[in-house]
């Protein structure tokens, strides 16, 4: 990796995104174009032309990151324009976080990883979380700082220190990640520090109480980025640790237990929430649990399917939660509350927002042709097939079933903010939703359907799945087209009772 290529990559990304945010109010169209080229174009060009060579897990996460950050940035334009009138300051903060995360996933040396990791954490804690509510949210920032940043950073710095002790101080800083497969033998204590630290980033069991607080109180776009991307930094930590060191089996069994508890607990707790975003946060904990279990199984049993499954769930969850959190932002924008029991009528407020809400439900339930279907089926199949190898698979299977069943329950609760009641108090006014927000939500929602096709093609699943996929795509297509037509039927502005104007 030549240093000039990396420097130009970084400079291009930073300049384009910063310019885009500074121009957000003066020239919105140019700003969108700049953020599109900066966050999506630059990483794609550099990876396709092989200027940037990354290991497979990092490449997957990088593409996910640049896709989601671009859409989040575009979505936030509409939201902040509507809420505050001025978007420059908020966009600057959001775009910086997006840039840092993209740079983090494309880092090729350990020092880059260290710097961007710490920078991302601190920028999120002190600027992003306080973006909308100011100092009131510093309490949330302190929670995040103590429960998530401190353990995960200790783990990261431990990783570096072990490396430094073995290959030297400067060599460890400048070591290139792609070719770095040392397989150093570290004891159970250090393995435990590393894995528990990284699992804090994924909100796993002993440190599971921060996601509801942080995702529930931050601005919606920050929650979206944190849930879909920042948590995946923990996954990056897991994989990197397993590439560099031989992780002790005891630590991996502890990781499985953490994952089992978190998956079940997250799924249970999500069904009990009254706040949309706390619901989504607990659901995230549950999904993180599945990611953790899947990674631990890969390291314990050496199943390569489990490794691909881990990446698959990470991508699927990234797309899904970005969509869900942005949609909850939209809910707040039109209804001024996140409380599920005070909503329920939003279908009468915005039919287009309901569509993206439905896509979230379809993904969470695992309805074909969305990616949720293929992910759930693959996880269950993998667990069934591996039962013969290890009895540990039995509790995992049970927990996966709990995860799937409760997902149906809380996703129904999520959709109920749109469709559970008729408007009672007064005739509902139809609210116009900014185009930026709709475009990015629909792109995310339908990309989950495209993702399924991609997975089917890549993993060469049996013909049965392809058949189900094609049939459901055609069926859903017809339904969506009919639904889409109704969006343009003009709303009745007055209500008539028995022929007399009320």
């Amino acid at each position: 990796m030549e240093i000039t290529v990396k420097a130009s990559y970084t400079a291009l990304l930073v300049t384009l995104t910063t310019l885009s945010s500074l121009l957000a109010d003066r020239n919105p169209r140019l700003s969108k174009l700049l953020v599109f080229t900066g966050l999506l174009g630059v990483p794609l060009i550099f990876t396709v032309t092989k200027l940037l060579i990354l290991p497979d897990y990092q490449l997957v996460l990088l593409i996910l990151a640049s896709f989601i950050t671009t859409l989040t940035s575009i979505h936030s334009t509409g939201y902040y324009k509507y809420m505050y009138g001025v978007t420059k300051h908020t966009k600057l903060v959001l775009n910086s976080i997006c840039t840092i995360i993209v740079l983090l996933f494309s880092s090729t040396t350990i020092i880059e990883l260290l710097v961007y990791w710490l920078l991302a954490d601190i920028v999120i804690a002190f600027t992003a979380i306080t973006l909308e509510r100011g100092y009131e949210n510093l309490r949330v920032a302190a929670t995040y700082l103590v429960m998530c940043i401190a353990p995960s950073d200790i783990a990261l710095l431990t990783l570096w220190a072990i490396l430094a002790a073995n290959i030297g101080f400067y060599e460890s800083l400048l070591a290139e990640i792609p070719g770095l497969e040392l397989r150093l033998n570290i004891g159970p204590a250090l393995s435990l520090i590393l894995l528990v630290g990284f699992s804090a980033k994924l909100g796993q069991f002993p440190l599971h109480s921060w996601p509801p607080v942080v995702y529930g109180e931050s601005p919606p776009h920050v929650s979206a980025i944190m849930s879909s991307l920042v948590s995946k930094i923990g996954l990056l930590g897991y994989v990197l640790a397993s590439r560099l060191f031989i992780i002790d089996n005891t630590a991996l069994y502890i990781l499985v237990i953490q994952g089992l508890i978190s998956t079940a607990y997250g799924a249970f707790a999500a069904t009990l929430q009254t706040d949309v975003r706390r619901l989504l946060a607990y659901s995230s904990i549950s999904y993180y649990g599945v990611i953790t279990i899947s990674f631990a199984i890969y390291s314990l049993l050496g199943l390569s399917e489990a490794y691909y499954l881990t990446l698959l769930i990470a991508v699927y969850h990234g797309v899904l939660k970005a969509l869900a959190f942005m949609n909850s932002g939209l809910v707040y924008q039109v209804a001024n509350t996140y409380n599920i029991y005070r909503l329920g009528h939003l279908f009468y407020v915005s039919k287009s927002a309901t569509l993206s809400g439905f896509l979230v439900l379809a993904n969470l339930v695992g309805m074909p042709p969305t990616a949720g279907f293929i992910v759930k089926i693959s996880a269950l199949l993998l667990a069934f097939n591996a039962i013969a190898q290890n009895p540990l698979m039995i509790p995992i299977l049970v927990v996966l079933i709990i995860h799937a069943v409760f997902a149906i329950m809380y996703s129904a609760k999520f959709l109920s903010i749109y469709t559970s009641t008729l408007p009672r108090a007064q005739p509902t006014r139809y609210v116009e939703i900014p185009r930026d927000e709709l475009i990015s939500e629909f792109t995310l929602g339908f990309s989950s359907i495209v993702l399924t096709a991609l997975i089917l093609w890549l993993l060469k699943y049996t013909i049965v799945f392809t058949f189900i996929y094609l049939v459901t795509v055609i069926f859903m297509g017809i339904v969506f087209i009919n639904y889409y037509k109704t969006l343009f039927i003009p709303e009745e502005s007055k209500y008539w009772l028995t022929g007399v104007e009320s």
Binding site: V86, H89, S96, T127, L157, T158, A335, A425
Partner: protein
């Protein structure tokens, strides 16, 4: 050589005494600059003639830079809060004697300068007690009775026991630290007596009780100097005295005791700091917290005798000096602006004190330990030393890591609590009592900038050029964060406050 040193010192003091008589701030600043530069020259000359070692040089150089900035801040502070004129000259003399204590080549100069520091410190706290609105009236007495007395007790115990061991001769008192070759064996029972004074000076729990009231009552620049430089004398004195004493057989016990005390200080200081409302008391408990961590590093040095551990102790001391001076001087601006120091009343400093807040934010980021600031070095260095030293026993490993983890957590919570001062609206509007000039604010900004500029210099002075380059490359990180924080505070109020279509409940 001695004559040159004394002459330089006298000329420096002379410049300060003149500067008090000059009314124009510009000329005053110029005179102060000259006199502190002379002190820097003195330190460098002593070092290049191999009279003092690197530890003294590093501490003296960075403390001189910080002292100059405090000294520039003081006349403006004294003027706006109507402190007596003597404050300025007393503070300058206090700073001079402090720096002299750090560049002292032998024990007699160290002890004399230190005693002057104690007396002047007492007088400064007394001035604050008589003048300020807040703080208890017994703090100067507490300082004199606890900190000064125990220090004298320890030092004279040390000198007396040394005389018993090597016979009464001026050799012990006059011989430079750098040329000591012998070790004195002392009875074990005397060791606690010798440690007592230095640990009290460093405010290690349970000998900390004099510190919060003394540091919160003194005038802000004096608090800055007391908290930043005087407290570090405890470690410096310990380092010098343990140089003479043969503690090899006791090293393990001593190390574990010190780490345990440090751990206790971290927990106690952290918890107390979280419950404070007065900014200066909060900072004073923060001093106890940080000192606990520095003591851990010091114990690590005693046990491993590694060069890196000593550098970490120095980094810890300089970090503490740099961020504490900034924050205490900033607290002085709150006093001037609002006539209060209560944290729950002060909000939105980025609007009321736009210049100094940047410096304050840098100091807070250093407290939290953001990469690119000074505060990052001791934290990451401690982890590095612990994980790369294979000879460390399990007990020590567990104790050190837990003290590091607790320190990281507590400093992060305190830092994020402190940052709330810079944001948004207060609970109720409090009147702005007087204007704080941009000049006054910019001295605090300069102090704040030392939190990021000292890091590369520190490594450069210690001959680690590559580390200096790396830390220079990390400097944009805190600056980026502050740039973003400033933008966060500029977000307007919501225009579409309520757009709900259904508000019946």
């Amino acid at each position: 050589m001695t004559i040159t040193a004394i002459t330089l010192l006298i000329i420096a003091v002379f410049f300060t005494l003149i500067s008090r008589r000059v009314s124009s701030y510009f000329y005053k600043a110029l005179l102060k600059l000259t006199s502190y530069t002379l002190l820097l020259v003195l330190a460098t000359v002593l070092y290049s003639n191999s009279i003092i070692d690197t530890v003294s040089l590093v501490l003296a150089v960075f403390f001189t830079v910080l002292s100059l900035l405090i000294s520039l801040y003081t006349p403006l502070y004294a003027k706006s809060l109507q402190y007596p004129n003597t404050l300025e000259v007393l503070l300058d003399l206090f700073l001079y004697s402090l720096i002299t204590a750090y560049i002292a080549p032998n024990i007699i100069v160290l002890v004399s300068a230190w005693t002057i520091v104690e007396i002047l410190g007492f007088i400064l706290i007394k001035i604050g007690e008589e003048h300020s609105l807040e703080g208890p009236l017994t703090s100067s007495r507490g300082f004199l009775l606890t900190s000064t007395t125990t220090y004298e007790l320890s030092v004279f115990t040390f000198i007396a026991t040394s005389f018993f061991a090597i016979g009464i001769s001026p050799q012990l008192l006059l011989e430079p630290f750098i040329s000591i070759t012998y070790k004195i064996s002392i009875p074990h029972i005397v060791l606690p007596l010798i440690l007592l004074g230095f640990l009290t000076k460093a405010a290690i729990t349970p000998l900390h009780f004099w510190l919060p009231s003394a540091h919160s009552t003194a005038p802000s620049p004096a608090s800055a100097a007391l908290s930043g430089f005087t407290v570090a004398l405890g470690y410096y004195g310990l380092y010098r005295v343990l140089y003479y004493i043969n503690i090899d057989e006791l090293a393990e016990y001593l190390g574990i005791t010190l780490i345990a005390l440090g751990l206790f200080s971290i927990v106690y200081g952290g918890i107390e700091a979280l419950t404070q409302r007065d900014v200066k008391r909060l900072l004073a408990y923060g001093t106890i917290l940080t000192n606990g961590f520095i003591l851990t590093l010091f114990a690590l040095y005693l046990l491993t005798k590694l060069q890196v551990a000593l550098i970490l102790v120095l980094a810890g001391i300089i970090t503490q000096a740099s961020y504490k001076t900034t924050l205490f001087c900033e607290a002085g601006l709150f006093e001037a602006l609002y006539e209060t120091r209560y944290t729950h009343l002060i909000r939105g400093l980025l609007r009321t004190l736009p210049v100094s807040s940047i410096g304050g934010l840098l100091a807070v980021l250093s407290l939290i330990g953001v990469p690119g600031t000074l505060g990052f070095i001791p934290k990451i260095g401690c982890l590095y030393v612990v994980l790369t030293t294979p000879t460390l026993s399990t007990t020590l490993l567990v104790l050190t890591t837990s003290s590091l983890a607790l320190y990281i957590v507590f400093s992060a919570i305190i830092g994020s609590k402190y940052i709330s001062l810079y944001y948004m609206q207060p609970i109720r509007q409090i009147p702005l009592v007087r204007n704080v000039s941009r000049l006054h604010q910019s001295t605090v900004l300069l102090l704040g900038l030392t939190n990021i500029t000292i890091t590369p210099l520190f490594f450069y002075v210690l001959n680690y050029s590559s580390l200096a380059v790396i830390s220079l490359a990390l400097v944009p990180i805190p600056l980026t964060i502050i740039y973003l924080v400033i933008h966060v505070t500029r977000i307007p109020r919501r225009v579409n406050e309520v757009s709900s279509t259904w508000r019946s409940q």
